[in-house]
Symmetry: C3
Subunit: 480 residues, 3 copies
């Protein structure tokens, strides 16, 4: 009887294989391009109403696609936000809630958290990552080990923009025999091999994106491109010609920042051209977004959101975002329900027909069905932000029209964020039971958070232990 | 060649299957029923000499079976004690030494600790759990995921008893839109689906036990039933008719408690009837016990044991227990050697012919051979209790006739517990080397304890870290 | 198609198997003998210039082999150093950076770190361990579980030397019914079975080494012998006849210590004789070394190195070492490049043709190619020492000619250790950038260190937590 079962099982597998091959041939899987700008402010793209910076190419995508008013990333700063993009997990669930050590390390985002690139790659996608990595620079955390067929960029958390400049600095320190040279100065690489870049970095990454699409278009497989610009992250370094586009901006930082964004926009334009040239434009989902809020002290603008990068106020983790896919994504729409960057993993997987294993827990939801129907993909389901500071934590909970906020060791506040986008009117006093209930829900969520696997600086880790962090007793306290 | 191998392997599997089926047919495996009362005191059953509470059906089992004078649970309170019953591990070895978070969570008893239900289920037992779970309420910790074919009950740490009452309270809070409603009020469930219960909970669980046995008797497989009454745990809520059985009890709490125990006894009676009706009585091992000592402030009585629930004094973790199995368990006997609830896992496994994998460490011992011969199954082998408090721990070591006790930050004491059941005469001064040796042995044992994976309350976890717990240096200190 | 692939794969495996069998048959794998003395000082062997202690047999090996001037162990005390020898990992990477609990425990070197013995055993080596274990005494950590076919010795961290003496003490405590008897007094064992030893322990171990080689020589497989003498570790107990060899040594401790070393040397002589007798001398790589620096207060001499056992100064972890293998190891040479005990694992593996799995990270390097060419196997690659103390850590970095040192909470110092073996001239002031760079490199290395899985004493673990160790912020601080 055992034999029969096995034979039957083998036969039905065969049938399935034939069957599914047939199905796959008939249903064309979309290419997916995820473009992530670095520290780009909510108000720093045309489609979100920027009054000084112009982003014509990005705006074109927004006009023929859908932009999002309430798109949240999973963390208000870079490393954890990107870890969440790649893994579909809140960074706190995988010990990745801090940026990787500034001075280098041998740690990285845990390999038992499967990257979306790996999943898509296993499902026949040709995959590429370009630009900033910041998810681990030891060999086992390399992009090529995490599902990317192609990688061109720099493994650290940022980079200087002008090759002539940084290459000279690097050479000098290397000559002194130093092993630890600031990662913003190190040579770029292609699939693990150092390359000598010559272009302004943003343009270099756009060039590589174009090359990737040219190459990908030749294959019969669909492709996934993760284009991670480091712009407009510091150092503020723009090309003169790009700054010259903004004669009316007087502030030096803002002018430079604007030029950096403009270079990104130029790259997006070239990428779109290339898609069209290769007949891939109609079959490609483009997602454009920022990894976290803009840094106000470094040229960014998050208006009308409060605060910026690093904060659990809206300016910290609500970001500009758009979807573009002709005939699939509604054209010229603004989606105003809350969505999370954590949703991208399951959404991409579903669009690609890639099965997520049952035991692979994901924190987001496939937003596509609700998105298409213009419904709230997170109805009655909270979206969290949690940022650990020295001895305490800031937190936020977005639930339907509500936003609960804990910031700077003050008591929890509550805002009707749909009516009060700038978090001005605390309505906690008249909604005590609701607020308490929201905080309880986040407290429940917190129990399987993991201790951080690293810290930005060694001293931060020492303080974490000295302060007996995470002090969730303080974070989730709703009574005096 | 690979195919040949598979065919051969399939054929030999088939042979094995036929062979083993033959064996199983000839050796009848017993059904096993484990009945656990909640917070039931040592002195609150007739067979342990209760003078006010009557438990005629339970006493009948004791009379035709064997009761235990020195049965210890693995922890003096609920969650960890139950985790130990299910896993055969000291809760400290699997990070389960605290009750699950009161306000809910997404954690539970680690899935790499295989439940006895899973092992029996894999060995062809039809398995059911009824009543209180308290081992994790996230999907992956659900009884149906842990080896139980059937589950009817409530996943939290307790429940209110009268449906009319609690359902009204639940409905009211639900209407306010709250997500976090006290678990004692939530609807019961059957295999993950909410049900609308109508009976007094103890009677409802007894009804389901009867139904389970009726259903199980139809199958050719043996069954394992884990019947986890929440009675007589608080809230103290008894039926009037049950309280009316105790006209001589004047204290309101004690009277209610007595009525609650009486309802449990009634259920045991119905269960026994059903076993007889289905011709399963002779082939069923029944174990009746409490999960920890009675709570003195809530109507219980542990006489002659000192203290109660939560303590490492005898009243905390020595419990009423009986075994019943016609022709296998000696009738009308009192077993006076120490046994541990940790022994049940390996004992059940052995009776069921279920092989425990070599790398699955269990902390108890198959007590059956010693039990049958009326010998000490733990001769020269210590039984421990360890209860963490704020900044320190209480502990106990039972070894042969000795009981070493550490309580309330006082120095270790030693009792000849066979002669001094009430822990009145500390003989540590005249047995210093022995006491030191016993404490050393427990210190050795402690080295592979795991950090708790959760705490009862968030603040308890913060304090644990602030106090640098476990402070085993203090716990195992035997010198001044 | 699936089937075709499998058949092809099976066929090519077969081809590979035939092919590789052929290769193995033609290349003879060497026997490997690793002799480790315990707490033997740098200056306490003739080949390192001892002026009072004579070690004629060991010196003979040095003369016809190569001795090492700059051999470092991975930790300046015993347990972690041995864990590193067996696993090829810095002890900090596997939570083994403390000695096992003095009073016994159920913990040991993690089983997911594969011992070199296991690897060699899997590659057809006949394997034996003799003497001190100190890597875990619970069953799953037993030598026979870690790849050793044969084991004769004692599982703890040391042992008394005269059977008549310690057996009497043991018997007395046993009679008192104690379970926890000092491990230096317990009976020796052979493959898990207690034996009644009658000889002075060093001689007993030498006898067993001879027996092992006699037995191994009968097999067609190569052998690996790990001969772990506990001499000259305390207690200082030597045979009168051995002490009599040193009439000119007046200091009692030194005289006893000298006698103990002399007994080791006698054992080495007998072992060499036995190899010759069995025609194995020419095909055996002998490594002789100490597990850490000598303990100055207990008779040892590390001249010209500073300090001793436990220190990150050179006397703590630079040890006497020699290689001997006729026609393979250069005869009569002194190798003066730095090497690490961590190199032995990959070197032995390579010599044995044993493949280390790709995901099995090793911290050392196969030193053989560089050793043969008299080149630095660690050119530009640092060798570390890190010793945790109460609330702070001592550290050391050996890189090319440099030695960076952090000791006793003093600022980092830098020595040109090639010119300044005694660490007298701190040149940090004139090499600030270099020193900072070296420390940064070690800080990077530290990020994936694991928390200790045990401590020498329970209180040490409590202090570790109270002090929020490891305070790497302090350890790797290079500014004021």
């Amino acid at each position: 009887m055992k034999i029969h079962t096995k034979l039957l099982s083998a036969l039905s597998s065969l049938a399935l294989l034939v069957g599914s091959a047939g199905i796959h041939a008939s249903e064309q899987k979309p290419n997916i391009i995820l473009i992530v700008a670095d520290d780009l402010g909510y108000a720093d793209v045309g489609f979100n109403g920027s009054k000084d910076i112009i982003t014509p190419n990005i705006d074109d995508l927004a006009k023929s696609g859908t932009s999002f008013s309430d798109a949240y990333v999973a963390h208000p700063f870079c490393g954890p936000s990107r870890a969440a993009l790649m893994t579909g997990r809140y960074p706190h669930k995988i010990g990745s809630q801090f940026n990787l050590p500034t001075r280098g390390s041998n740690v990285g985002v845990p390999t038992d958290a499967k990257f979306i690139s790996k999943l898509l790659n296993e499902n026949n996608y040709f995959t590429g990552a370009l630009g900033k990595w910041h998810l681990g620079d030891a060999p086992k955390y390399h992009p090529n080990q995490r599902g990317f067929d192609e990688y061109y960029g720099f493994l650290g958390g940022g980079h200087n923009y002008f090759p002539d400049q940084y290459q000279a600095q690097y050479k000098k320190q290397k000559a002194q025999g130093l092993k630890n040279i600031f990662e913003y100065l190190t040579p770029l690489e292609h699939n693990g091999k150092k390359v000598k870049e010559t272009e302004y970095i943003t343009d270099a990454l756009s060039r590589e994106a174009v090359n990737f699409v040219d190459k990908a278009a030749d294959k019969k497989n669909p492709f996934f491109l993760y284009l991670a610009y480091n712009a407009p992250h510091v150092p503020l370094q723009a090309k003169d010609e790009d700054m010259a586009m903004f004669p009316n901006i007087k502030n030096k930082d803002r002018k430079t920042y604007a030029g950096m964004v403009y270079a990104v926009d130029r790259g997006v334009g070239k990428l779109v051209e290339t898609l069209k040239k290769n007949n891939q434009y109609d079959n490609t989902l483009i997602v454009f977004m920022s990894d976290n809020g803009g840094k106000l002290s470094k040229g960014a603008n998050n208006f009308p959101l409060k605060a910026g990068k690093g904060s659990t106020q809206e300016g910290g983790f609500r970001v500009p975002m758009l979807f573009h896919w002709p005939k699939h994504v509604p054209a010229g729409k603004r989606f105003s329900h809350p969505v999370s960057a954590l949703d991208l993993y399951p959404t991409f997987a579903a669009l690609a027909g890639a099965k997520v294993e049952e035991n692979q827990h994901l924190d987001g939801t496939d937003m596509w069905p609700a998105f298409i129907k213009n419904e709230n993909p997170h109805k009655d389901e909270p979206i969290y932000a949690l940022r650990h500071r020295k001895g305490y934590s800031d937190a936020a909970i977005r639930l339907n029209q509500w936003k609960a906020l804990k910031v700077n060791q003050q008591p929890w506040q509550l805002f009707n964020i749909e009516n009060d986008i700038s978090e001005k009117h605390d309505v906690s006093k008249s909604n005590k039971a609701l607020l308490t209930d929201m905080v309880r829900e986040m407290e429940k969520w917190s129990w399987d958070n993991q201790q951080p696997k690293w810290f930005h600086e060694t001293a931060e880790g020492a303080n974490w232990r000295l302060d007996a962090m995470p002090r969730f007793d303080k974070t989730f306290k709703t009574t005096k």
